[in-house]
Symmetry: C2
Subunit: 195 residues, 2 copies
Amino acid sequence: MTARPGVTPAAVRDAALTLFAERGYHGTALSEVAGLLEIRTPSLYNHITSKQELLAQIVLPLSQEVLDDLAAATDGVEPVAERLRAAVRVYAHRHAVQRREALVLNTDVAALDEPWRSRVLALRRRHERAIRDLIVEGVEAGVFAVDHPALASFGILEMCVAIARWFSPDGPLSPAETADAHATFALRMVGFRQS
Amino acid sequence: MTARPGVTPAAVRDAALTLFAERGYHGTALSEVAGLLEIRTPSLYNHITSKQELLAQIVLPLSQEVLDDLAAATDGVEPVAERLRAAVRVYAHRHAVQRREALVLNTDVAALDEPWRSRVLALRRRHERAIRDLIVEGVEAGVFAVDHPALASFGILEMCVAIARWFSPDGPLSPAETADAHATFALRMVGFRQS
DNA sequence: CCTACCGATCGGTAGG
DNA sequence: CCTACCGATCGGTAGG
């Protein structure tokens, strides 16, 4: 009893997010999560069912949102170069804005138990595949020139993921400017030439 | 006594490298490292002094080698575009060839105690700075065109780091081909135009 | 190289 | 929300 008003499942996830992003899942003790919320460890279990499910609840919705983002940003956009630009922009932007989430998603998938891990990896593969298909489409249309579309999609996605590692809201660039710069990098990487 | 001939400090580091790369430092128990070598946990201490020092001995030499690689590959190379190409090629190549090492270096720096962590981060910053300086030099020489050299260097380096995550020696591309492809990506990203 | 064992800490439960 | 407590496991030491 005597539940604290500020302590909710969402608040627990937020505290865990901060610590997982800093030290990793295995490097974070639930006692530290509790400490951040100024409660005792067992009280966490009023809001979560296990440490694993806490990680899953952070990482799974996010994986789905990345795919939703992609569809929303690219649906109906033409030509294919603008579709790739939009796809990279929205992905890069998310990594500048949700840095903790992105770090946990990319560092701690390995710590996630089955069947969650397989779900996350499947969603990620679908995203990568969608980007690769855009590149292949551009090559076939004659507007891109890439020897290895898979390498290009890996490279593009990973440089976006990296944004979460170095971006600072106090830095000189806004998330939107950072996203635009990465979209430009992506179009250059795939050899885009105005037709 | 009764030391096993195959079990040496280097063999312990190699076993730890495999497990750290798969599950991370905090996700790996020394009992698992011992298990891989088919010895008991306390026997490890004939070859190591602590788990932390084991991580440090993996990660510190590697950080230094990355800088040595860079110097060896770029010294005296002209013009600046070829110097950047050589720098990216050697960095990418290492991430295809030493995947475990690269994964541990990039995932588990956070798990490294001071003063080692600061040493590793300082070496990494020097490497990034050297790449960035190459980009700036190319821009000033009029052969590159980039709005944000720092973003370009981050993007280039991180897409190389990512190679360690997806490269397979059984895949269609050799380390050298992969390295060449990434060098091409890098030159495209910085807007290289033949003069 | 081993067995035996240490204190500390982990995630989680009981019970209120 | 708490205190009290659980078994398991951690990194590491003693001593041979």
